[in-house]
């Protein structure tokens, strides 16, 4: 259904208007209820048009405008100048001059209104875990506000370093609007709420529609392929078959060599392991078992079980196929893979967070905006059952809720000072507000949609998005969030150490330093066992079980 529209769109014969008409005509697309459509002239409508899709990436001036327009909620709770003289320190990442830089601009009008001043600690994403752990271990927590992912809640909230959210903040940010998987227990610890969510995370599957609409590829596949149809892959088996097939062919858009799936293989402070997880969840996450990374009774790693080994083997197979990956893929930074390769027209399939979708249309570096499609992660034709220790031959899919999104947390440094505490929470609430978040999910910000109200497609049209594109992009997110067999990551202390150890062993394995996929898995498992023992096995088991809801 959607592919028809894309076919027409990519052939360039259709204007945006006719395409919308086409979309409406298919009927199914118009079935979404139009609840809470932004009022003409409302804040939501105004911010969505700053700067408008197609007008280049937003600038700092745009960010400031958005921040100023969204002050309503602050004004309702805080008197002008109420925080005069209060200084807060905010630690977060400087992702590509987004996150912290964006927050600075969003908060500039807040600072003006409340009289508070904020100092900033900007970190590279790869340094983030290290800096946080160092602060915790040496007692040098030198920040009041913290941008942090839910996986670190074990490290921080578990040690009493965070301040509990006041009731008025819960109302101000409308917590009920969060998509279900981001509600408690995520953001809470021991029943207390700590987190103002500003992001929702899951990995989705992005692909190039022009590859699958391409008659030449379809013909060649009919000849060289396994007899199946040439269509968007639904399983990892297909992904690999297509990637091998595409090696040596030419990209229909750029004319450069065509490639299939892009695996980021280089270490990235732990974040790279998510990409292997993407390949593994369909094999490893059994619908009857909430656990998939560790055994919940013993913390014995499952990363060397047949499911994960199959995922590793899939990557090794492609490495062994000349031309399957772009040259030097083994040394490409993960960010490069998504933003310098996929968006620039190299490679045709990718798993990534949702921000690749909004960037495809609005970023200065993207050339694939018109030929990109989205789906939930591919599934697999068999799934491993850890209880019976056997493969089950049946279709299984399991979206990877990688990182659970960024949130703003307030540290217990402010707990003793009511004014400072209120200021910190007010700043956090401003950044996690309902309106401002609509803007961050619609424009390049590094953040994904995370509220039910973000999936109101009519609002996205106001920003200038094509209806079909938005439904495709947001739909892939929504389907992942609501998937019954989603793989949710454990919020246990040191989780990024496990990831970091894993990605290091994987990098060695991809460079050919281990004999087999099994050997790579075993090496990771060994490293994980060591980490578990170092951190304390009994407490890890308890926390792991708690995070799984067992």
């Amino acid at each position: 259904m959607k592919t028809d529209i894309y076919k027409a769109m990519t052939s360039g014969r259709m204007s945006r208007r006719t395409m919308l008409r086409g979309a409406a005509a298919t009927g199914a697309l118009a079935a979404m209820p139009k609840f809470a459509l932004a009022q003409a002239g409302s804040v939501r409508e105004q911010i969505l048009q700053i700067p408008g899709v197609g007008n280049g990436a937003p600038t700092e001036a745009d960010w400031r405008k958005v921040g100023a327009l969204c002050l309503g909620q602050t004004k309702a709770n805080v008197a002008p100048g109420e925080f005069a003289g209060v200084e807060l320190t905010f630690m977060g990442t400087n992702n590509q001059n987004l996150h912290n830089v964006l927050f600075r601009a969003f908060l500039s009008s807040w600072e003006e209104y409340t009289g508070a001043k904020i100092n900033w600690i900007d970190l590279a994403q790869g340094d983030y875990n290290a800096r946080l752990q160092q602060s915790i271990a040496t007692g040098t927590v030198d920040f009041d506000l913290l941008e942090m992912g839910a996986p670190f809640e074990g490290d921080t909230a578990g040690r009493g370093l965070l301040d509990e959210m006041p009731e008025w903040v819960k109302d101000a940010i409308d917590m009920d609007d969060l998509v279900d998987y981001l509600k408690a227990p995520v953001g809470t610890w021991d029943g207390k709420t700590y987190r103002v969510t500003v992001d929702g995370d899951c990995h989705t599957f992005s692909y190039r529609t022009d590859y699958y609409d391409n008659a030449d590829f379809a013909q060649a596949w009919a000849k060289e392929g396994d007899g199946s149809d040439w269509s968007v892959p639904k399983t990892w088996e297909q992904v690999n078959a297509y990637s091998k097939f595409l090696a040596g062919k030419d990209d229909p858009l750029t004319g450069l060599p065509a490639h299939g799936f892009l695996d980021p293989m280089k270490s990235w402070g732990g974040f790279s392991f998510y990409f292997l997880e993407d390949r593994a969840t369909a094999y490893a996450k059994h619908p009857d078992d909430p656990a998939w990374l560790f055994d919940p009774e013993t913390m014995k790693p499952r990363v060397n079980n047949p499911a994960f080994v199959q995922a590793i083997q899939d990557v090794l197979d492609l490495i062994a196929t000349p031309g399957a990956y772009p040259a030097d893929q083994i040394n490409a930074d993960p960010g490069t893979t998504a933003f310098q390769q996929f968006l620039a027209g190299t490679g045709s399939m990718l798993t990534w967070w949702g921000d690749v979708g909004s960037s495809a249309r609005t970023s200065d570096s993207s050339v694939v905006g018109d030929v990109v499609g989205f789906d939930i992660l591919p599934g697999a034709n068999r799934v491993y059952n850890s209880k019976t220790q056997e493969w089950e031959e049946r279709y299984n899919e399991s979206p990877n809720m990688a990182y659970l999104g960024w949130g703003i947390y307030v540290t217990s440094r402010v707990s003793g000072d009511e004014l400072k505490r209120k200021a910190a929470w007010s700043a956090a609430a401003h950044l996690g507000g309902k309106d401002i978040s609509l803007w961050t999910s619609a424009y390049p910000s590094g953040y994904q949609p995370y509220r039910k109200s973000h999936f109101n497609y009519d609002e996205w049209e106001i920003a200038g998005y094509d209806r079909a594109f938005v439904e495709d992009f947001l739909g892939s997110n929504l389907d992942s969030y609501n998937h019954p067999n989603a793989a949710v990551e454990p919020r246990i202390p040191g989780i990024f150490q496990y990831y970091s150890a894993a990605e290091d062993e994987l990098a060695k394995g991809f460079a050919g330093q281990y004999e087999s996929a099994q050997a790579i898995g075993d090496a990771i498992a060994e490293a994980w066992e060591k980490i578990t023992d170092q951190i304390g096995r009994d407490s890890q088991i308890a926390l792991y079980r708690a995070s799984l809801g067992l």
Partner: protein, 358 residues
Amino acid sequence: MSKLHIVATQVDSARRLRLGYGLNAAASLLLLGTIAAQYLPLGLTNWRPTLYAYVLWAIALCASQVIVRGEQGKRVLFVLPAALFVASLALFPLVFGLTIAFSDWNLANPDGRQFNGLANIKQMFGDTYFWRSMGNMGWYVLAILAEYIVAFGLALMLNAEIRGRKFFRVAFLLPLMLSPVAVSWMIGKSMLENRFGPVARLLRSLGVDNPTFFGDPAIAKLTIMLMDAWTYIPFMMIMLLAGLQAIPKDLNEAADVDGARGVRRFFEITFPIMARVSITAILIRVIFKLKLADIIITVTGGGPGGATDSVTSFIYREYRDRSNVGYGTMLAMFYLVVIVIGMTGLIKFTNRWKGADA
């Protein structure tokens, strides 16, 4: 025997001695008192007061040297401030580092640091990737010989009779001034980008299919060597150039009379004279090379598969990414011992060689 002979008139008056020792004692008391006060409930939130007391103590120590020992004290005053400064800033971290090195300390462990005896050493001897990074270091250090040859060649060229010498000298020097972080990004990741980077395009136009710079272990190591060489060749070059310019001109004139020419003259006259400065240049370069890390951390992260890891970048990852502080510090301490022994040997050896040569 001191090189500078002074007939010092030593004034040994009891009053001076008393004053000097008194000053010393007072300052020491103040320092000890401050340290003690830190433990009292006086509301002192940090050890700044001790820092100030220590500075006072150090000044008093320097002053008392002059007061007590007169001329001899004034001589000591040349070295003492620097020595005190280094000792106070380096000793505590080193000692504290040693205690960390013998403990199991994962920053995520809620129980904190635990003494674990020799377990870290045992783990180190079984850690093939650490030993591989040590091996890589060997290659990186060997690359200095090639750097030296290039640097010598450049110095010779700059010392020849050429036009635009000033321009070339400045141009050749500039890479040294650049920040390794910026170099890593703009050269390692931008110019050496294998699809759009200018170097890849140049190679492709020369007929190389799919040039890659970091995919193959040997090539990756070579690329790292080249980038590091690019930054530091100017350093050796200026030292060698300075040496060349200091060669007395009569030596060359004498050589002209003898009819020594070209290559022969270089090996018989220039090179032996340059031996000393060459050794110094290479030694300093070795020391800088032993710290090689920034470029590797940014560009390859040690990959592919540890093929480009230097010891420092390896430890850095153990430390930053895994928060495995105890083991990482043990590796660093071991590395320190290895290079202190190595460098001491090297310096002693070259000193003797220089001595025999002179």
